[in-house]
């Protein structure tokens, strides 16, 4: 389970201390996911703004992104003296593993009902006959 131990520096907004760590992490993740580019903790803090929870201190943001990075949810790269962070989409991670598992075993294939699988050459030809791009000129009996 999630670690909810104290990790706020003393001087930050009192509201921040009352919030569960998970909510802060979720907010930071949301900001990073919304951003198309890697963000430094400073940029994250800017984008978080004051909001309903009050402003977070720089060190709190650093703590949160470090924790998220340790959990494998963020990737980071050097940016000046610090790091810039991008989200490693957990869904993407899990789904990617799932997809590999899908290809690995019949049981996974059966558990996950896939929308479609690939077509054989014969099926592809059949499908093309069934779905004709007739632009409305051909007979239309559907």
């Amino acid at each position: 389970m999630r670690d909810t131990g104290p990790h706020h520096s003393p001087g930050e907004h009192p509201d921040a201390q009352r919030r569960p760590a998970g909510a802060l992490e979720a907010e930071v993740l949301a900001v990073l996911r919304a951003a198309e580019v890697p963000l430094t903790p400073g940029q994250v803090r800017e984008r978080l703004g004051v909001g309903e929870h009050g402003e977070l201190s720089y060190s709190t943001v650093v703590t949160i992104v470090s924790r998220l990075h340790a959990k494998g949810l963020l990737a980071r790269e050097r940016a000046g003296r610090g790091f810039a962070y991008t989200p490693v989409d957990p869904a993407s991670l899990a789904a990617g593993q799932m997809s590999r598992a899908l290809d690995a075993g019949a049981d996974h294939r059966a558990v996950l009902t896939r929308f479609v699988s690939g077509l054989s050459g014969r099926d592809a030809r059949l499908l093309r006959v069934l779905l004709v791009d007739d632009d409305g000129t051909g007979p239309d009996q559907g």
Binding site: V116, S117, D123, L127, D140
Partner: protein, 313 residues
């Protein structure tokens, strides 16, 4: 043991042949229920039949006769099951037990993994968009279940196509379709002759979800075209421009009876909505019930025989 005991071993062969034509004619929801129930019941009946054959052969073992205090001569006179048949039945039964145990283990593991992963996806909604280049969409059973769709696939579809795809996947989750396929495949592990039935259930749940999507979107053709488009996209090396340009579909009288699932699903959607086939359902149910009855009757036969042998001792 009368010939009745062999009926539960024969009917699965018939059922295996009939599964696909049945699935093509029945309303998908009914077909799913029927075929799943049939697979489970027929697997149970054939297992009972094997057990009875093995038991009636075992009844000839002198030691058991002494222990059970019954007359072997009565058994010999009344029961036409040979020792070889009984031994063969015992071997098949053992193999089936092992196969079921292995299948249960694999399925349970796959389902547990699915639930675990679904729970770990912390996105708020049901729909999880995967980055990367794969053309992929599937329902991930869990609590709550998730719909995993690749971003590339979503981009390739227009808005109506997306709603058709999502309606299809939602139907899988809401209908708990993985339970049907799991039950059917576990039953087929006990009796591999029933494997075509289990595979047909895989198909009928897709049809079920397709018909649901057709009702939700109000456009059968849209669902058909979406399936076709996604299938073409998902097939590496088969992405001719014409495929992506599909705008209209027409139903042609071409046979898809022996085609793969995708052309059959598309053809079914291009045709009229499926109607409930009460007569066909009743006939199929009757055959399954008769098989069950014959297994029970055979069990009663053996029981009566043993009673008789005990009385004669």
């Amino acid at each position: 043991m009368r010939l009745l005991v062999y009926l539960p071993l024969l009917i699965p062969v018939l059922a295996a042949v009939a599964a696909r034509p049945l699935a093509a004619r029945l309303e998908p929801r009914q077909a799913t229920w029927l075929l799943t129930a049939a697979t489970v019941i027929l697997a149970a009946c054939s297992t009972v039949a094997l057990a009875l054959l093995a038991a009636s052969a075992a009844a000839r073992v002198p030691l058991l006769a002494t222990l059970g205090d019954y007359s072997r001569s009565v058994i010999y006179r009344a029961d036409p099951t040979s020792v070889i048949t009984g031994a063969a039945a015992a071997i098949v039964l053992t193999a089936a037990a092992v196969a079921v145990a292995v299948a249960v283990r694999h399925r349970a593991r796959a389902l547990a993994e699915s639930y675990r992963r679904a729970a770990r996806l912390r996105d708020d909604g049901t729909i999880v968009v995967v980055r990367g280049g794969a053309v992929e969409a599937y329902a991930l059973p869990g609590w709550p279940g998730r719909i995993v769709v690749s971003g590339r696939l979503l981009e390739a579809l227009d808005e109506p196509g997306r709603s058709a795809l999502l309606a299809h996947e939602r139907a899988h989750l809401a209908g708990r379709h993985h339970l049907f396929t799991t039950m059917a495949h576990l039953a087929a592990a006990a009796n591999p002759v029933l494997l075509p039935l289990a595979r047909t259930v895989d198909y009928t749940v897709e049809r079920w979800a397709d018909e649901h999507a057709a009702r939700v979107t109000g456009d059968r053709r849209l669902v058909a075209v979406t399936i076709g488009r996604v299938a073409m996209l998902a097939t590496p090396g088969r992405r001719p421009a014409a495929t992506l340009g599909i705008v209209r579909a027409r139903s042609r009288r071409i046979s898809v009876a022996w085609a793969g699932p995708v052309p059959r699903r598309v053809a079914a959607l291009l045709g009229p909505p499926p109607r409930s086939q009460a007569l066909l359902m009743a006939a199929a149910v009757l055959i399954v019930v008769l098989t069950g009855a014959s297994a029970l009757e055979a069990a009663r036969d053996l029981h009566a025989l043993l009673e008789l042998a005990r009385a004669a001792h």
